[in-house]
């Protein structure tokens, strides 16, 4: 087995000195793994003290011309660096020792690379191969469980980007996502990347590692390097798989007979508290006559086919290297007719026209077409009445109106699906061009210009149709949305490397400018003829009632201008000091746009002390600590700039004609700045038993100061928002992270690694300028405008807040004797705790019900190789987290119930003291309360892959270097107690963990092949 692994950026690390040339001799050789004998591809070979060097090719061989007395340095990730004197030899075969320890690795840091041993921050690198293994369409999903302290939530509609937060929530109003830097270019999402095009991912967690990114660093930084070519023979790689997605852990719904029974009960409860004159008979005369009825999930969902192909070509020579890849993904959605096709292109080219100059570029293109599923279809499946047939015997759609089931489930999901016609098309081009020049001895200048041009369109078409009483349209209508973004970033750095005796120093200064803009427009028209798959605009705007609109909030234009500097110093590889500072200006905060972001980190490599040399138990022991200040500029734009409101709702009607109005309905704080985060990190890294066992631990405190926080203001001021936002709070996250890895290769046939990691985080609002005024939020999925979360000083952000259920009323006498209003409460309702003992249930009786911020994230990642077989199993989980199951109580009428609810419901005295009656969505029962809060803990086998590689030489004559077959299962095993679909619930800050989405959890199974020519 050969390894193809390189980082182009590594090369610059090798060019430490420029030397005068003397007598030259040609040297060549092969580099192999000392234990396995495998050839190693892409090993950096450099002549010590010069900028000259090369890399091993696909056969592990290298050729270069070196002075006879030169010393060659061999560097390779995961292996111990070797320096070998040439001594006039023409053939120099090298066996490299796998360092097993990650500590000797070179890691990617902001604007450069560094030996991991020299790093004083908390960073975690994940190899591209680990990400490519997973059948996820977004590379972020693949990081789940790999990095302690990183919380990734794969939720939302299938295909949507996962949510990521690093070391807890540090902002209430800003974006919690980290900054993504791909090949030096800044992005706020990386959905455009194909997993297979990623060389490696590095997560920077502590403030000293991220501070070089200043105003965007507060939520952490994720650095991604894409694949670049390697000098040597042309390598062609094909990776393809096909498989399917299927729903797992499906929530069972009540069948038709059970449903009819439950609804008849509900009618009685409604009659009980209503005007006797309005009393109604049971809705279903004979529940048993409906049998099992329609299984709506079975009707609409399917096992969805997915196939993915990726071809890449890479290679190069002394002057040029290249990498070109093309990817095609065709993924069916779980909902019938839903399909997503994605084409990706990745190109990178690097040239070395003269020794001192390297220029290159990389580019990523994406084109995708999606036949979108109907919005709200999942909720319809959850609500739909099983008594409703899909079609009547005469072929007409089953109409909920014929059953009088009323609001909430007055849709036939099949009709919703059949008349849905929405397509989305996405174009995106990202990339950078860069040049690097050695100006003087040890002094390098790098300039890089990156850009991101994106265009997203969606088109919805409603035909003339008549399916049911609520699903019909008398005219056609067309809706279009068009979004564009154009960003650029230009960065220039000067790097100086200096070494004197045992002193090593790398200094960096840089200058950066960037510009981000985004535009969005929507348009619609009625009575437009249907153009099938043609140009989205062909038939537009030839219709009636044409309207164009732009959402003010979706228009973005901002700029940044920054200067930064960093020094990395080490003495005798024992004492480490890293310091950086960034001066950032962001137009969002004009006229006070500038801020300073300093950081410092120190480390002590204990094992390099002479007193440790005599022991052989500990190979590496490093203690490190860091402190830094960083900023979060991704907060509400220009909060101090009062703007004119011109929302559609401000449209007046005069003479029957709409007239758009505009005025001022806000107040703004005098000055608002970015949020400032202060991070303190203390860590320990250790390697034992020849680095078979490695260990890393971190303790951190991350404090956001000047956090943007809304303070409610008097409604009589007449502002629209009812609050004044500003830098008015501080928020703290603190926690521990541990990771432990055991790697061993007992013999040539067998090697394995087992690693585990865990992150523990506690979140708390420390202060709010106005004191104890809470922010209530989280109204999604909660009936009657009630809010389910509260953010207040001394507590975590967005805790669930509401009434504590102490039981279920069994009798009328019990209701009458309670603190609840006998006029509205009845047997079967929740009994709420009268927290303040005032004899009545008021909003003052609400208590904290749970915390949606996970306390613990953990992962187990294992890999085994035995002869031609390889097996990797990744497991992952979350503990100490609560979710709010809003779906149970979010009812408008006669929606269906889950089987669990039906089976346990109260339906007469003594039937249940925990589950309420079917009246659960009504009256005071629907108010946020403890019944709806459940543990969100889960454990999952995130990914399992078994591979078989054909024995080495058998296919060489066909030009095939390697062929591997594999089978992969993602999300195959999920263990949780939560009664909803999945406990992995996303949501914005303030509504995090409220489950109102009813997206089923799905597993992906696929079979693939990997061929290298």
């Amino acid at each position: 087995m050969k390894r193809i692994f390189t980082i182009s950026g590594l090369v610059l690390f090798c060019f430490l000195f420029i030397n005068a040339a003397f007598a030259q001799t040609a040297v060549k050789g092969t580099v192999t793994d000392a234990t396995t004998g495998e050839t190693l591809i892409g090993v950096s070979v450099s002549i010590k003290g010069t900028t000259s060097g090369t890399q091993t090719d696909v056969n592990g061989t290298y050729t270069l011309t070196a002075p006879a007395g030169a010393v060659l340095t061999f560097t390779y990730i995961g292996y111990t660096t070797q320096s070998v004197p040439v001594n006039g030899q023409a053939l120099l075969n090298i066996k490299m020792l796998a360092s097993a320890s990650q500590l000797d690795q070179v890691v990617v840091i902001g604007y450069g690379v560094q030996r991991k041993i020299d790093n004083t921050g908390s960073t975690v690198a994940v190899k591209g191969t680990e990400i490519a293994k997973q059948a996820s369409t977004n590379p972020l999903s693949a990081l789940q469980g790999k990095v302690p302290g990183v919380n990734i939530i794969n939720s939302g509609s299938p295909g949507s980007s996962p949510q990521i937060s690093i070391r807890g929530l540090g902002t209430v109003y800003g974006n919690v996502s980290p900054l993504f830097v791909v090949d030096g270019v800044w992005y706020s999402d990386i959905s455009f990347l194909n997993n297979n095009d990623i060389e490696n991912v590095t997560v920077l967690k502590d403030a000293s590692s991220t501070a070089i990114y200043g105003i965007r660093a507060a939520n952490g930084v994720v650095l991604i390097t894409t694949k670049h070519g390697v000098k040597g023979r042309t390598v062609i790689n094909y990776n393809g798989y096909a498989g399917w997605q299927s729903v797992t852990n499906q929530v069972k719904m009540a069948n038709a007979t059970e449903y009819a029974t439950a609804i008849n009960e509900l009618v009685v409860y409604n009659n009980n508290i209503g005007d006797p004159a309005d009393a109604k008979p049971p809705l279903f005369a004979n529940p048993a006559s409906y049998g099992k009825g329609t299984d709506w999930y079975g009707q609409i969902l399917r096992n969805a086919f997915v196939t993915n192909h990726q071809v890449s070509i890479s290679g190069g020579n002394e002057k040029t290297t290249y990498e070109l890849s093309f990817g095609y993904l065709d993924q069916d959605g779980l909902v019938r007719n839903n399909n997503y096709k994605r084409y990706t292109l990745h190109i990178s080219n690097d040239f070395t026209p003269v020794k001192a100059l390297k220029i290159g570029y990389s580019a990523n293109g994406l084109y995708s077409i999606s036949n979108d599923p109907p919005g709200g279809i999942f909720h319809q499946l959850f609500s739909a009445s099983p008594t409703l047939p899909v079609f009547y015997a005469d072929g007409k759609y089953g109409d909920p109106a014929d059953y009088g089931t009323g609001n909430g489930n007055n849709f036939n999901p099949e009709a919703t699906l059949d008349f849905n016609n929405q397509r989305s098309v996405n174009h995106r081009l990202t990339g950078d061009v860069h040049a690097e020049l050695s100006i003087l001895k040890n002094l390098k200048f790098k300039t890089s210009f990156g850009g991101d041009i994106g265009q997203a369109e969606s088109r919805g078409f409603t035909p003339i149709y008549s399916a049911t009483a609520a699903q019909n349209s008398k005219n056609t209508s067309l809706d279009l949305a068009h979004t564009e973004n154009r960003n650029w970033i230009w960065e220039n750095t000067l790097t100086y490397d200096y070494k004197y005796k045992e002193h090593k120093l790398t200094a960096l200064v840089g200058y950066s400018a960037q510009n981000n803009s985004a535009y969005q427009r929507t348009a619609s028209a009625d009575n437009v003829p249907y153009a099938k798959n043609g140009n989205m605009y062909t038939s537009f705007p030839a219709g009636d009632s044409v309207s164009y609109a732009r959402d003010a909030g979706a228009q973005i234009h901002n700029r940044a201008l920054s200067q930064f500097a960093r020094v990395n110093y080490s003495f005798a590889d024992k004492y480490l000091l890293n310091a950086s500072i960034r001066h950032d200006g962001a137009s969002q905060f004009y006229p006070n746009p500038y801020g300073w972001f300093p950081s410092v980190g120190a480390g002590w490599v204990v094992t390099n002390e002479s007193f440790m040399k005599s022991q052989h138990f500990i190979d590496v022991l490093k203690l490190r600590g860091s402190f830094g200040k960083v900023g979060n500029s991704v907060v509400p734009i220009n909060p101090s700039v009062q703007t004119v409101a011109a929302d559609p709702y401000l449209t007046a009607i005069f003479g029957g004609v709409p007239v758009q109005g505009a005025s001022i309905n806000s107040i703004v704080p005098p000055v608002t700045v970015w949020e400032k985060a202060q991070g303190t990190d203390a860590g320990l890294e250790a390697g034992f038993l020849n680095n078979k066992l490695t260990f890393e631990a971190d303790y951190y405190i991350r404090k956001t100061e000047d956090a943007i926080f809304a303070i409610p203001v008097l409604a009589s001021i007449g502002t629209n928002s009812g609050s004044l936002i500003g830098n008015q709070a501080s928020i703290q996250n603190k926690g521990f992270e541990f990771s432990l890895t055991w790697k061993d290769s007992p013999n040539r046939d067998f090697s394995y690694s087992i690693s585990g990691n865990i992150g523990v985080n506690a979140n708390k609002v420390l202060t709010v300028q106005s004191g104890k005024n809470p922010i209530y939020s989280g109204g999604n999925g909660i009936a009657n405008g009630n809010l389910a979360t509260r953010t207040v000083v001394g507590e975590p952000i967005g805790e669930f807040y509401g009434y504590k259920v102490t039981g279920i009323f069994q009798t009328k006498a019990q209701v009458a004797a309670s603190a609840q209003k006998a006029t509205t409460a009845q047997p079967g309702d929740f009994i709420y705790q009268d927290t303040d003992h005032d004899g009545s249930i008021t909003s003052k009786d609400r208590v904290v019900l749970g915390n949606p911020n996970p306390k613990v994230n953990y992962g187990f990642n294992t890999s085994f190789t035995y002869k031609q077989f390889d097996l990797a199993i990744d497991m992952q989980g979350v503990a100490g987290v609560d979710v709010y199951n809003a779906n149970i109580g979010y009812r408008f009428g006669n929606e269906n119930f889950t089987q669990d609810f039906y089976d346990h419901r109260w339906h007469g005295a003594g039937t249940s003291n925990t589950y309420p009656s079917t009246f659960v969505g009504a009256n005071d029962n629907s108010k946020p309360n403890s019944f709806f809060v459940e543990s969100g803990a889960y454990f999952r086998v995130r990914n399992a892959q078994l591979g078989y590689t054909l024995p080495g030489n058998s296919l060489k004559k066909y030009g095939v270097q390697k062929i591997r077959f594999y089978a992969n299962a993602q999300n195959a095993i999920n263990i949780f107690g939560y009664k909803g679909f999945t406990p992995e619930i996303g949501g914005g800050v303030g509504s995090l963990g409220i489950d109102d989405s009813v997206y089923p959890l799905y597993a992906t199974y696929n079979f693939g092949v990997n061929v290298t020519f």
Partner: protein
């Protein structure tokens, strides 16, 4: 090709320095970017068009949710004996707290109503503070200012009758020190209302060209002034202002039922009407939910079925009064517009004055979003005139407008003579009751009954069985949130 290394080094080194210098040079302007999407407030209040937009925004807010839907139902209607909550028993059960007078200061509808009125007041104050400095057509400017004064008076009228003393804001607060102000005694609030209305009536035109219909008129200012006087029992003023309105040419619309249909918007009887419309492809602007929340539930194109007529209202109609059928949709009936109302709805009766025929419903829009809400109409003015004249002892003068209202109601019935006999009594007490009842049935479900009964001093008698308590329920509580935020500056109404 050989490139001189030194030259290249120099060139790139220089370009780096040049780049930094260029950026340093334009650093000041580089970061001065106007926020995209929104116009900065500093760019506003410059032109006549800005003034026009601000006036439009103020009117637009009148058909927004808290001004026209749930909050007004709770605060201005649910307490009356004309209505029940409606919908399913459990749906929005908090509405019952307004019917049973158990609503606490924490009820969301109280803060919605309060906030909704003050939002409109802010839009009016923005105009009154900023438009005077705009260089624009002078007569249009004074009209805009008069319109803003009317709207401000309208909002304070709604606030003062719901809450009593309220913070009186006649300017946009300029700094944090002006945010937190105490309640102004209601007498002063009434004075401010009357001052605004006097100013407005002096400037506003009697009518507008077709394109401007919907702007408030002189008649609206006088009619609202009369109503403000009515609530203060300033009978002579009521007579004075109603007489002025009666001289402006308004006439009662012949067909009582059709008066409330969309084809008869801004008819001859309408004095102040909240303008609403279904704007194709713009559901956000077509945001009135006035008709939707009161619409027949269970029918596509109907609505949510709240604020439904009560048995007490049905009983209030004199035998054969055609206004009963015109005001109330009975479950199972077929409306004059041909809609069949299912016999299975949640309520036995629905509000017909807010009703929009189901055929006008467009998927994706609020049901009935095209329905205007008539806020002041001529029959109201006539009945105010009758009531005030009677209170002043001029019962003969009171009988004339009263008969005008009854005569219109009689129109179209057959045989006409058999229903709604002419009221002839000149006994002040008997006539008072006749006018009260006429007012109840004529203006039923038009959001006046609850406060009418209170100002007539009959609330304990008529609402007491539902829990109405003297010394407490004359006003609703101030929103608890507002009291909390004021940190002691605002004092709650007694007994809440």
């Amino acid at each position: 090709m050989k490139i001189s290394k030194k030259l290249l080094q120099k060139a790139l080194g220089l370009s780096f320095i040049a780049a930094i210098m260029i950026f340093q040079g334009c650093k000041k302007t580089f970061l001065d970017v106007n926020p995209a999407g929104n116009v900065a407030a500093t760019q506003f209040w410059k032109t006549q068009s800005d003034a026009t937009q601000a006036v439009s925004a103020m009117y637009a807010n009148l058909h927004e949710w808290t001004n026209i839907a749930f909050a007004p139902i709770a605060v201005e209607s649910m307490g009356s004996d004309d209505v029940n909550k409606g919908s399913t028993a459990a749906d929005a059960a908090f509405m019952n707290d307004f019917h049973n007078f158990s609503a606490s200061a924490g009820e969301g509808q109280i803060s919605d109503f309060w906030g909704g009125e003050y939002k409109t007041i802010n839009f009016a104050n923005q105009i009154l503070d900023n438009v005077p400095a705009i260089s624009m057509d002078a007569s249009l400017k004074s009209r805009y200012l008069a319109e803003a004064k009317f709207i401000r008076a309208w909002c304070y009228f709604r606030l003062v009758r719901a809450f009593g003393d309220v913070p009186l804001r006649l300017h946009v607060p300029k700094s944090a020190s002006e945010y937190n102000i105490p309640r102004t005694p209601k007498a002063q609030v009434w004075t401010a209302i009357e001052t605004d209305l006097t100013d407005a009536a002096g400037v506003l035109p009697q009518s507008y060209a077709a394109a401007d219909v919907g702007h408030v008129t002189k008649g609206a200012a006088l009619a609202l002034h009369a109503k403000a006087a009515l609530y203060q029992k300033k009978w002579a003023d009521v007579v004075n202002y109603t007489n002025q309105v009666m001289g402006l040419g308004y006439t009662l619309f012949t067909n009582y039922e059709k008066m409330f249909r969309t084809e008869n918007k801004n008819n001859s009887e309408s004095i102040f009407e909240i303008q609403c419309a279904l704007i194709p492809n713009n559901p956000n602007a077509s945001n009135s939910q006035y008709s939707q929340v009161q619409g027949v539930d269970g029918s596509t194109g109907g609505g949510w079925g709240f604020n439904v007529p009560s048995a007490s209202l049905v009983a209030a109609y004199e035998s054969g009064d055609p206004r009963k059928d015109a005001t109330i949709i009975f479950r199972g009936e077929t409306t004059p517009e041909g809609d069949v109302i299912p016999a299975t709805g949640n309520s036995t009766m629905y509000n017909q004055k807010s009703y929009v025929p189901f055929g006008l419903y467009v998927s994706g829009f609020n049901e009935g979003c095209q329905q205007n809400k008539i806020a002041l109409r001529y029959a109201d003015v006539l009945l105010m005139n009758a009531e005030a004249n009677n209170e002043m002892g001029n019962s003969a003068a009171a009988l004339i407008p009263l008969e005008q209202v009854r005569a219109r109601a009689r129109t179209g019935t057959s045989p006409a003579a058999n229903v709604l006999p002419k009221v002839t009594t000149t006994d002040q007490a008997a006539l008072r009751l006749a006018i009260y009842n006429e007012r109840r049935v004529e203006l039923a479900l038009e959001f006046d009954r609850y406060f009418d009964v209170i100002r007539q001093g009959r609330a304990k008698e008529l609402f007491g069985s539902r829990g109405w308590t003297t010394g407490k329920n004359e006003v609703w509580p101030l929103p608890q949130n507002e009291i909390d935020l004021s940190a002691g500056t605002l004092v709650q109404n007694p007994n809440y």
